[in-house]
Symmetry: C2
Subunit: 101 residues, 2 copies
């Protein structure tokens, strides 16, 4: 994928009440991949959880944010799973890669 495109950086810290979280996270990743304008997703968690999803346009991000099952996941996240989170909407202006020979 060639810039420009968009990234949603979702940084978060879980509470201790993580029942149901990993199932929902997996379900949301599957669902994200089915949305129009989806380009990719990357995640890792240690003390901090970071999920970055990539999108063709701001419209694609708005559409995904308002998707019904995703809204329910967001509601559950605030109610139970997340101690805090920050969401950043970004325009990817340049990208370069290295791969070992």
């Amino acid at each position: 994928m060639q810039p420009p495109y968009y990234a949603v950086i979702f940084t978060n810290k879980l509470t201790n009440e993580t029942e149901g979280y990993s199932e929902m996270a997996e379900k949301m990743e599957t669902l994200a991949k089915q949305q129009p304008g989806y380009l990719g997703i990357e995640h890792a968690r240690e003390a901090l959880g970071i999920t970055i999803s990539y999108w063709e346009s701001l419209d694609a991000i708005s559409h995904w944010k308002s998707q019904l099952d995703h809204q329910e996941a967001q509601r559950m996240g605030k109610k139970q799973w997340y101690q805090w989170y920050t969401t950043r909407i970004c325009k990817v202006e340049r990208a370069y890669s290295f791969e070992k020979a």
Copy 2:
């Protein structure tokens, strides 16, 4: 920090030759924090490593990229530590946060 500002998303996978890597990563994080225009850093690693650093401007990012000790770390990274990596330069256009009451 209020948008707009900039983010460098550094996504990577390590080789099996990680000797010296964590010391260098720690040193680079300390050094990044001393650079002009530095705003913050977040990282997590599971199968994938993700480090996101935040900066006031593209100039601040260029300056950090060309810093001498950082260049040496980049050289070592390509030679030994990284199987692959992708660097993305992004403009953070919007951000919002949630924190549990």
